[in-house]
């Protein structure tokens, strides 16, 4: 009797252990944790969009997928995140087109002189159409997928400086400006007479506060307000709408292949929701950002319309050279230019 009891107990123990292991395995197979890395600090539009994306992915996937966000470059810096996505070491990210252009130069197309003075709507119209889809497709060859549309951040302005006041393009001569790591920005600022230094976003505060640079080149009002860069010494803005910057959602192809079709759909739908929010938010935030910068003592200067036209004409005359030096595809750029002309 006792022997039978022991046997039954052992069998029950084995069965329950097997059941627990099986359940754990099933749960492990169902629950997926994805890692999302961004290099901007919490509160930045990109981080807020990432948080919404993460929350919506969890909601749409009914908890099958959870997303852990690593802000402020805790996990990877700008270029590091892109390489990690391509290798499969990172699952998700939201990246600026300027950073991505070190890997796919054509993503800088909206920073070309033809986009000087362009509106948010014109940029959106182009990137939401087949030209945008073609651009995203170029990233796929590198193992990085774009599961949705972009959101425009803000127009680039040529300079934000610490001590030297830039009132006109002539004042740029000799200024050492930290620019986003885009070959095109470096080439354009060189053409304008400045001395650009391509710098990852995570290093700009240090460079400004230590006086290693005179300011920032090809930046946006939102970058200044979001990063509180007046604390790092930024005092003057030279605002001239010198092209645009945008953000893209990115998924590693290795991660994408691990997901079921329903889970992929959750990721896509979730971004659609985050994208709509981010587009509205950044448009509204631009006005707030300018106000915030003014209230923190930043003085705005702008070129006269005539001067702006002259610089635009000068740069446009050199656009083919800029395209070649920026290793962009001239045929693609020509099609974008034609579409922009239609919209104008």
């Amino acid at each position: 009797m006792l022997r039978l009891g022991v046997r039954h107990a052992a069998a029950a123990l084995l069965a329950s252990t097997a059941a627990v292991l099986l359940c754990a395995q099933v749960a492990a197979a169902e629950a997926i944790e994805l890692r999302l890395s961004v290099e901007t600090p919490p509160g930045h539009a990109r981080n807020l969009a990432s948080e919404r994306w993460a929350e919506a992915i969890e909601r749409f996937s009914n908890g099958e997928i959870s997303v852990r966000i690593f802000p402020s470059g805790q996990l990877y810096g700008s270029a590091g995140a892109i390489k990690a996505l391509a290798s499969g070491a990172l699952d998700l990210s939201v990246q600026a087109n300027s950073t991505l252009s070190s890997f796919e130069p054509n993503l800088s197309v909206v920073g070309l002189p033809m986009f000087f003075g362009a509106t948010r709507e014109q940029v959106r119209e182009i990137l939401d159409g087949p030209l945008g889809a073609e651009l995203w497709g170029r990233l796929e060859k590198k193992g990085i997928l774009v599961p949705g549309g972009h959101f425009e951040y803000a127009p680039n302005n040529t300079a934000y400086t610490t001590r030297e006041i830039v009132r006109s393009y002539d004042d740029l001569r000799g200024l050492k400006l930290a620019t986003p790591p885009s070959p095109l920005f470096v080439v354009m600022l060189r053409f304008m007479g400045a001395f650009p230094v391509a710098t990852p976003r995570s290093e700009t505060v240090l460079q400004l506060s230590q006086g290693q640079v005179d300011g920032l080149g090809m930046m946006t009002d939102l970058t200044i307000s979001g990063g509180k860069l007046w604390d790092a010494g930024v005092r003057y803005a030279f605002r001239d709408v010198a092209g645009w910057g945008f953000y893209l959602p990115l998924v590693s192809r290795a991660t994408w292949l691990r997901l079921s079709e329903a889970q992929r759909d959750s990721v896509r739908r979730a971004w659609k929701e985050a994208e709509a929010w981010a587009r509205e938010y950044t448009a509204a935030e631009l006005e707030n950002g300018v106000e915030t910068n003014l209230s923190h003592g930043i003085v705005n200067y702008s070129p006269t319309p005539g001067e702006q036209q002259r610089m635009r004409a000068l740069l446009l005359a050199e656009q083919d050279v800029l395209v070649a030096q920026g290793r962009m595809d001239p045929e693609f750029v020509a099609r974008v230019e034609a579409r922009l002309a239609e919209l104008k």
Binding site: A79, I82, K83, A86, S87, S102, F103, P105, K142, R173, G174, K176, T179, P180, P181, S182, P183, V186, V187, R190, F195, P196, V197, A198, Q325, R327
Partner: protein, 167 residues
């Protein structure tokens, strides 16, 4: 000339060549850096935006290439506090054991370095300056080349050790 002599002569020539190359690279780095600083301050028209970037490449190459020479001269970091209490025979065994471990580690790093170079080449990662230098060849290649030199020196050292035992 006996065979061991030939190996020792090869080791000496190799070291002299490496030291000369590393010295030249460091001098070049210094020159490029000074050129960048001087032109930015005194002749902005002649300034280029890539001097700091090139200086970094040169320093990285010089540092990684010096691994081979350091290994040959046994000047790399090592803990030697207890070594003096060992017998000559035990010291020799320990030396060989450490060389074998280093050979395995550097071999692994060599393999991973090659993988890294190929991956960066696949991504076509470029620097963001006007130079737009392909990172695979100007930067990441330094790691496998440096590791290859260390592996070569360790293999030569083990070979000489073996020959001296049989001599």
């Amino acid at each position: 000339m006996t065979k061991p002599d030939r190996f020792e002569a090869l080791g000496r020539s190799w070291r002299r060549f490496e030291t000369a190359v590393i010295g030249l690279i460091v001098l070049l780095a210094l020159g490029v850096f000074l050129y960048g600083s001087a032109t930015r301050s005194f002749a902005p028209a002649l300034a280029v935006d890539w001097t700091e970037e090139v200086t970094i490449y040169l320093i990285v190459w010089a540092s990684l290439l010096s691994g081979g020479t350091l290994t040959a001269d046994r000047e790399h970091v090592s803990a030697e506090i207890l070594v003096h209490v060992l017998s000559e025979r035990a010291r020799r065994r320990l030396r060989i054991g450490i060389d074998v471990l280093m050979l395995a580690f550097c071999g692994l790093m060599l393999w991973l370095g090659v993988e890294g170079v190929l991956f960066a080449h696949l991504l076509d990662e470029r620097s963001a300056s006007t130079l737009q230098a392909p990172q695979a060849w100007v930067l990441y290649l330094a790691l496998p080349v440096g590791m290859l030199l260390i592996v070569g020196r360790l293999a030569l050292s083990l070979l000489l050790e073996r020959r001296s035992t049989h001599a």
